[in-house]
Amino acid sequence: MHELPVTQSIINICTEEAEKNGVTKVEKINIVVGALSDIVPDSIYMYFELLVKGTILEGTILNIKKIKARILCKDCGFEEELSKRGFKCSSCNSENVKILGSSQLYIEDMEVTDERD
């Protein structure tokens, strides 16, 4: 949900960082999306392309890394990716588990070309 304001914020932050660092071209933006965030990457890509036309970010590659939720069994210690089986350990079937995952959503870094390059 809310991919339009999220995309606008990505653009605002990256434009600000590019200007601050005297960058002429941003090649790539790396974004991290936590397992529990409801952000839909495909919508971000679509809005991004529409919104960056004619700006310093036109042609920039957006790389969205979605982190998968994990499940840790508190009985046998087995840890795995959370699957469609739900909140249950696939090793020992215990339901005494902890779900590992956050709703983080941040810009990690940008790959850029400087005026010097």
């Binding site: 949900m1 809310h2 304001p5 999220v6 914020s9 990505i10 932050i13 990256c14 960082e17 660092n21 960058v23 090649e27 974004i31 529990l36 965030s37 409801d38 939720a69 739900g86 909140f87 339901e95 005494n96 588990v97 902890k98 779900i99 995952g101 709703s103 983080q104 959503l105 941040y106 810009i107 990690e108 870094d109 940008m110 790959e111 850029v112 070309t113 400087d114 390059d117």
Partner: protein, 215 residues
């Protein structure tokens, strides 16, 4: 080519405003509660019962967020407490800025608690901090015992979960333990309460929980 470390929260526009509001409410010693849950889950009724128990000792205000109409705000105003309707004009959630814009309607010096009744929705409201001290998620028995797995963010973020309409457990084959187990798997610290707002059963437990957070 080189790399620039950015490490900035994409939702910083909302986080900055949330922190500003949170500080202001701390200065004024106002406890803000963000009450979230599905449409028809019993948010308004629960808030009404809590206010009845809390209003002798505390000065209370309410922000009612709705997509349309003023039905809930009228119910609250009938209790002779300050209530402001936040009309989201179709939006599915409220943001910190919505609260910032509406807060000047209250005299914060004269308040101890503000209840914010968020939009009825288990998805979007969970994504936005609004300056609150506590997020209170509501799940009513008829909604089913699978909702924690289906809407994990809401229950991962909530400080407390109130299971409303608890008297209906037997009619809906609702497995309370499944909900408790799943909510704790997502969020070890979540406090869980069972309430029947019509009879008042379980309300006092929620009241003593809230009393611990009064400023």
């Amino acid at each position: 080519m080189r790399e620039i470390k950015v490490v900035r929260q994409i939702m910083e526009w909302n986080e900055d405003c949330h922190n500003e509001l949170h500080n202001e409410l701390n200065d004024k010693k106002v406890l803000m509660l963000n009450v979230m849950g599905s449409p028809g889950g019993g948010k308004t009724t629960l808030i009404t019962r809590l206010i009845e128990k809390l209003k002798d000792k505390n000065k209370i205000g309410v922000i009612e967020a709705d997509l349309a109409g003023i039905i809930d705000a009228e119910k609250m105003a009938a209790m002779n407490i300050p209530v402001v309707q936040l009309d989201t004009a179709g939006a599915c959630h409220i943001e910190a800025m919505s609260i910032k814009n509406i807060l000047p309607e209250f005299n914060l010096e004269a308040l101890d608690i503000i209840f914010v009744e968020n939009i009825g929705n288990l998805v979007c409201p969970a994504e936005f901090n609004i300056g609150e001290d506590l997020k209170i998620a509501i799940l009513s028995i008829p909604e089913g015992d699978d909702k924690v797995e289906k809407y994990p963010l809401m229950f991962a973020k909530a400080n407390a979960l109130v299971l409303t309409k608890h008297d209906l457990v037997q009619y809906f084959k609702f497995d309370v333990n499944r909900v408790i187990k799943n909510a704790k798997a997502l969020n070890e610290d979540i406090e869980i309460f069972m309430v029947n707002s019509e009879t008042g059963e379980g309300i006092l437990e929620v009241v003593s929980y809230l009393n611990k957070y009064l400023k």
